[in-house]
Symmetry: C2
Subunit: 135 residues, 2 copies
DNA sequence: GACAAGTATTTGAATAATCACATATAGTGC
DNA sequence: GCACTATATGTGATTATTCAAATACTTGTC
């Protein structure tokens, strides 16, 4: 029989699958939304792919590949780092910022709907507990 | 700014990514482990792919494709449903059951490690809260 | 100031999963 | 028992993501 720890992670996987499915909005997958929110939260100069990889718990390679279609759609742009020729900085374009603003409202609605059975306090507590998982 | 509901789901996605990474064991991905545990929990006659899809929050197509390599490796086998020629039943082979038994111990260790900052009560609570997400 | 070791990023090949559609079968109402 | 609709599953094409290796650059050390 699975332990309590495993059962909790099974519940985590299930909830995540439901959430990822529900949070597609404005042609953005949940993963893309996460990426764009991370970019918006970063310094105006942008965020390095390696940092994004850590933030989003992706591989650097995954970040490269996630950025590509967003660049093509004009949502994200990149600049070379003047001080380190290996590195670059990704940031939202103006169009990307607008798109994100438009997406956040509907996303928030759906998120609230997913969590509708939890009180505000329980939601906050869930967040705190999740933030303890894995670090 | 993202709402509390969105922030909670971001924390959920992060925790899931960490967990999925950590729970690979014995050549089984976390997804495969989930599938095998679902099979083990089902009736001895096996479980229909469609039911598995619901259990695991996958598409039926995803189940078909997840089962394929497991069948090839002799971990899972399928039987046609005698009463309904459209349907089939997937179940663990003896080798699959053994492999799963061997995988559960290490998986439980890693799961416990991920949750090491939470008390037993908090873990249980996290599980309860997660089970309220999306239904 | 060359050289070893480390860091940032990309790429090719592979795995996981999706969607839209195809196929086969079942169930229902007449 | 036919026509319709619904259900179970599989398939082709596409997207997301990984790992291992390649490339390009930086840094520290002697």
């Amino acid at each position: 029989m699975p332990t309590d720890a495993i059962e909790t992670l099974l519940a985590l996987a299930h909830a995540h699958a439901v959430a990822a499915r529900a949070l597609e909005v404005q042609g953005l997958s949940f993963g893309e939304l996460r990426l764009l929110l991370a970019l918006r939260a970063s310094h105006p100069g942008g965020r390095r792919p390696t940092e994004l990889a850590r933030d989003l718990e992706l591989t650097p390679s995954g970040v490269t590949r996630a950025l590509l279609p967003l660049e093509k759609r004009g949502i994200v742009e990149r600049e070379r780092d003047p001080g380190d020729a290996r590195a670059s900085h990704a940031k939202l374009t103006a169009a990307g910022a607008t798109l994100l603003d438009d997406a956040v409202g509907p996303a928030a609605e759906r998120a609230a709907r997913l969590l509708r059975r939890l009180s505000v306090g329980q939601t906050k507590q869930l967040q705190r507990l999740l933030e303890e998982v894995g670090r």
